[in-house]
């Protein structure tokens, strides 16, 4: 299997393309995922179609046609509910919800319907759907287009939640999500679409529920999510220059959560720092600290710390948003506090 470098955007596109080739029950629907539906000058040559608001689905309509790559009206509830029962009756839909914030419009269809179907029906239904949705601050997109919110969906029983941190994982985890028989929410950080990385060209599946140690170290454990993994690796580089070796653990999937890899790392390093772009109350950050406190309490030599966004909506103005997003400097300081004492 050869490797080459592609972007996060291309990796996601490639996962969908390969899974749609492999399994004709996989369909894609969402707002402008093809673009320009029924316009003569676009229908004739679908390469002129939008391919999603940031071009992530570009070219899929050319290969798979408009029966399988479907533009929708701006009707998020209908998109979500249609995906739920299309999944329950024989398809494997990928529903694109442009921004995670738009779950505010359509929460019932995922929270009360998709997430609960199998349980409420006594195990007699499966919902093999994927919701792909954009998260994250950094685009100056303000309060209704910048949230992370994966903690909310991890809290909901019945949903699997995936937050890739690099192109290879994005491809492999999305393939696994599409093949999974349960509803999976796949969170794509919008600032990462142009980030490049080595990605296997052929079939590449990263199982859900398996964390990845992105950097090995002995002095402290950083558990970081999504874009924060890259920030944490930068922090680790800086700290290594000062003789502090940090282990960076990427859970990759928040539900199911690979507790063992996280606990084993903390048992080795004796220090935990969680780096999470989501808001802090009732969050993955508090959940991970709770996990380690309960199951590896006696191994810790320092109080666990959470580096998160503040508990506010995302602000628009550049200096405010820069303040909102956890920084490499804050991560470095937290590790030093853990290692050296404050």
């Amino acid at each position: 299997m050869t490797e080459r470098t592609i972007t996060f955007r291309e990796a996601i596109n490639e996962a969908m393309r390969q899974e749609m080739r492999r399994d004709e029950s996989v369909i894609l629907m969402g707002e402008d995922v093809a673009g320009g539906a029924t316009l003569d000058h676009i229908e004739g040559q679908d390469d002129e179609a939008w391919g999603g608001v940031l071009g992530v689905t570009k070219g899929l309509v050319q290969e798979f046609g408009r029966e399988r790559v479907r533009d929708t009206p701006i009707s998020e509830s209908a998109i979500m509910g249609t995906a739920v029962t299309a999944a329950a009756t024989g398809l494997r839909p990928i529903a694109e919800l442009m921004f995670v914030d738009f779950f505010g419009v359509c929460m019932d269809q995922i929270f009360n319907q998709g997430a609960k179907l199998r349980y409420m029906f006594g195990g007699k239904a499966q919902v093999p759907m994927v919701v792909r949705t954009m998260i994250g601050a950094g685009f100056r997109a303000a309060g209704q287009h910048s949230g992370s919110h994966y903690s909310v969906f991890t809290h909901m029983p019945g949903l699997k939640t995936v937050v890739p941190s690099c192109p290879a994982d994005a491809k492999g985890l999305l393939a696994a999500a599409i093949r999974d028989n349960d509803p999976v929410i796949f969170f794509e950080h919008k600032v990462m679409y142009d980030e490049e990385g080595a990605v296997p060209e052929g079939e590449h599946v990263v199982p859900l529920g398996v964390a990845d140690i992105k950097r090995h170290g002995s002095d402290a454990t950083i558990v970081a999510i999504g874009r924060m993994v890259g920030f944490s690796l930068q922090a680790a580089e800086q700290l290594a220059a000062e003789g502090i070796e940090v282990e960076v653990v990427d859970p990759r999937t928040l539900s199911p959560l690979d507790e063992n890899t996280i606990l084993e790392s903390v048992k080795k390093t004796h220090r935990l720092i969680v780096v999470d772009e989501d808001n802090p109350r009732c969050s993955m950050a508090t959940d991970l600290i709770s996990l380690v406190s309960a199951k590896a309490f006696e191994y810790q030599d320092a109080a666990p710390q959470a580096i998160t966004a503040p508990h506010t909506p995302a602000p628009f103005s550049p200096p405010l948003e820069d303040f909102y997003i956890p920084s490499v400097e804050r991560i470095v300081d937290a590790v030093k506090t853990a290692v050296n004492g404050s």
């Binding site: 539906a37 701006i74 419009v105 685009f139 209704q144 287009h145």
Partner: protein, 323 residues
């Protein structure tokens, strides 16, 4: 149109030109990299916002959309703080916290642009309910796009407004596209206004590039609402010159469509109409153009000369502080 005074004609012309100039300027600033974030421009739809809001006072309310600059200006929001908000400066309408998509000025009855398509429908009902319960004659205009008309929230809002006879006017700005998806595809209805029948409320489809058509339809609907007769749905068919957002390559437009837009330009049409009937002079309109140009240049200077907010401002204006 005979009843529209010369003073009013000049005022609405100034509002429309202010919107056009603000938007063209914002497009240029965005292209220069001076405006952060997402910017959605209203140029081409000026006759709708101004045609409707020309009947309102500051006491009346509007809810808006992600394409909200025009609604703000039509409702009387000052351009200096608006422009500063687009730059994210502390002198902005929302202190830089909201940006283009969340400009609001509650004192002017402008209840916010909105980043959620269809988000404004239920919000308009709330302002309408408040006015009704408080016993005022305030009306609320809900501006929404053809895209938003496919959201469940708009159905819920129109039904509730009707059963409670709320003083709300639903103004659908049908610019033909929900982002890149044409209304001919995304809508099962030929005209969005046809849906009024289902809610048992008056519904009209008007040419949204004709100020006078919008003005007349809005007048009837607003009077109806002020008299306690409940909501109306007005669909205004128009177009937008710019893409869904700045940076959109507009692949879904053809050259023919763009040529057609120019022929329907609402400001050109207004000028031709009022000049053709000798209601105002060309010099008077040109003087407004010059005034507007200066005002927008000043707004840019004001915005560029203003400071960014301090970082810690991120933590204020919350309901519960964890700082």
């Amino acid at each position: 149109m005979a009843e529209i005074s010369k003073e009013k004609l000049l005022e609405v012309y100034e509002r429309m030109q202010t919107i056009r100039s603000f938007e063209d300027t914002a497009a240029g600033l965005f292209a220069e990299g001076k405006l952060p974030g997402f910017v959605h421009l209203y140029a081409g739809e000026e006759a709708i916002g101004v045609g409707v809001c020309s009947h309102l006072s500051d006491a009346d309310f509007i809810t808006s959309t992600h394409r909200g600059h025009g609604h703000c200006i039509a409702k009387g929001v000052e351009v200096n703080p608006m422009m500063a908000e687009l730059f994210g400066k502390e002198t902005g309408s929302c202190k830089g916290k909201g940006g283009s998509m969340h400009i609001a000025d509650v004192d002017k009855g402008m209840l916010g642009a909105n980043g959620i398509v269809g988000g404004g429908g239920p919000l308009a009902c709330g302002a309408g309910l408040s006015a009704k319960v408080r016993g005022t004659d305030q009306v609320t205009i809900c501006f929404f796009g053809d895209g938003a008309s496919e959201q469940g929230t708009m159905h819920e809002a129109m039904n509730m407004a009707k059963i409670w006879k709320l003083p709300v006017i639903f103004v659908c700005e049908n610019n033909g596209f929900a982002e890149s998806t044409p209304a001919s595809y995304h809508s099962a209805s030929k005209d969005i206004a046809d849906r009024a029948t289902a809610y048992n409320m008056p519904g009209f489809t008007v040419d949204g590039t004709d100020f006078f058509a919008v003005h007349e339809a809005a007048e009837e609907a607003i009077n109806h609402a002020r008299q306690g007769e409940g909501p109306t749905l007005i669909e205004c068919k128009a177009f937008r010159y710019y893409g869904h957002f700045e940076g959109d390559a507009k692949l879904y437009y053809t050259d023919e469509m763009v040529e057609d837009f120019k022929k329907r330009d609402p400001i050109t049409r207004f000028r031709q109409r009022v000049l053709g009937r000798n209601l105002v002079s060309e010099e008077e309109l040109d003087a407004i153009d010059a005034k507007v140009k200066n005002a927008i240049e000043e707004a840019v200077q004001f915005a560029e000369g203003s400071a960014y907010p301090a970082s810690e401002e991120c933590l204020t204006d919350v309901y519960v502080s964890y700082a």
